[in-house]
Symmetry: C2
Subunit: 297 residues, 2 copies
């Protein structure tokens, strides 16, 4: 069993990992080796103490070098569910992994992508967040895919193997995927409509002369870099879309901590770094107590 699972490899997650390592804890850092597209794309960071006018790319590389020097490897998996079991946590990933730990640190950031109208209502009735989980349900059918990152294109390919037709709505520039049954739509939909299940994806204006402003679909896959914390962890208390934490970064779930943008504004590197550090210290103290308890039991 791990001491901790850190979910997210942005600034907060990296800070937590470095401190857990310094504290001699064993842990898994779930994320991406590129760490964070948000950081990498930042033009210039002006107020991060110690690094003068650093570019996001240079900051990202510095963090990568630091992880490497500390022998910390990012596990390229995305958490899909966090389960609070008796005295431990279970974390399942979209890649099929399952890990157990004494504590969890949520450092999953905030999605800048808003959900579209009707999305939440139709979850499980045509709306899915995981192609590899639910793709087979759409064999021979028509689906739309909202996708936030090129990194997730393999999921679209997986879908295209089953579905007869895939409307891909990419939220990034260079689409690399090419399949006969994939049609790229460069407009954002405004809402989902349907009775029992999803039936239509509605746009504000006609997509093109031959298509019009509606797509008839059997399902919508919203593929985003991260699942929202509340969706990830059942019973997690949130406030205005952010994870509610105490000064020591504890959530309402014992042993579950949060850090960085997911806990609220300001969305700043310095704040994320500080919170990751504090969360790791709090988790470390909790782990020590839990281990004493385990020895007694």
């Amino acid at each position: 069993m791990q001491d901790c699972i850190v979910i997210g490899s942005g600034t907060a997650g990296v800070s937590a990992a470095l401190t857990l390592q310094a504290n001699g804890k064993n842990f898994i850092l779930l994320g991406q080796t590129g760490l964070s597209e948000k950081i990498a794309k930042a033009e210039k960071i002006r107020n991060y103490p110690g690094l003068l006018d650093v570019t996001g790319k240079a900051f990202c590389e510095a963090l990568q070098a630091q992880l490497k020097a500390a022998s910390i490897v990012v596990k390229e998996e995305r958490a899909m569910g966090v389960y609070a079991l008796k005295d431990k946590f279970g974390v399942a990933t979209q890649e099929g992994g399952y890990y157990e730990s004494r504590t969890v640190i949520l450092a999953c950031g905030v999605e800048s992508v808003k959900t579209i109208e009707g999305e939440t209502e139709f979850v499980g009735r045509g709306v899915s967040y995981c192609a590899t989980c639910d793709g087979f349900l759409y064999k021979g059918k028509t689906v739309a895919v909202l996708c936030t990152s090129k990194r997730l294109e393999h999921e679209i390919e997986f879908l295209a193997d089953f579905a007869a037709k895939v409307y891909l709505i990419p939220m990034y520039k260079e689409v690399e995927i090419e399949r006969e049954n994939i049609q790229i739509i460069r407009k954002m939909p405004v809402k989902l409509e349907g009775k029992m299940r999803v039936e239509k994806l509605v746009f504000a204006a006609p997509i093109s002369a031959d298509i019009g402003s509606e797509l008839e679909i059997d399902g919508l896959f919203a593929l985003r870099e991260s699942v929202s914390p509340a969706t990830l962890v059942g019973g997690l208390e949130t406030l205005d879309g952010h994870v509610k934490v105490s000064r020591d970064m504890q959530t309402n779930i014992v042993g579950c901590y949060a850090a960085g943008d997911c806990t609220g504004r300001p969305y700043q590197y310095a704040k994320a770094v500080g919170e990751g550090n504090v969360a790791a210290h709090s988790a470390s103290a909790f782990i020590s107590e839990r281990k004493k308890q385990e020895t007694k039991d």
Copy 2:
């Protein structure tokens, strides 16, 4: 009137200053151009994201370069009192300065030096924290001086001009001060004794064969790098010796924020940097509101 006065030039204070500057606020940063002896003396910092195994000295220099690039000048003065006036703050310094501001950020760190037994009870009755304020009261008398830093030696010289005899108990290595009436004692006292006023400084063991284990004194000056936040700001709420703050770094006094070691453990650079950033953002929001109010009034 300033938008903000940042008290302390350690990591938290520098982080707050950089963010206030980025937010276009005018402010005074009270501290020292060397920023912080604690940082400068740190051997190696292992878990500060973005700087791989940096020495305290290198970190300090990086912060100095960053302040310079942002045209932020540290005002070499030590805050002695913070007064919450109507709709503004007054800050008095030991150097005789007096400044007004809409907000205050306390980033004064924690003193690792403990008070000695009897010290607090005898404040104003023989115990003083400011040589330039109270030195003249000891003309022709005998005083002891507890001093934490060579930087404060000018205060001891000031005292030696008045007092007949000065027992200097330095808490640093190289003492540069030399005066006929100054005697250096390399032992720490354990308590102060006296009736109405301070009479004796008591040591655990004899200082030397001719002196014994007690010094008869008329006054004790405790010269420390920083005054404790609770002494600095009347009515400030503390908990276990730390300033009590909310998640957005607000203290119990409206417009007064705190950040860094003074708010509690972990005493880590990452935490200090994060809290300084958040305090600056909270103060900035408060300043905007206050300015709207001022325009109305």
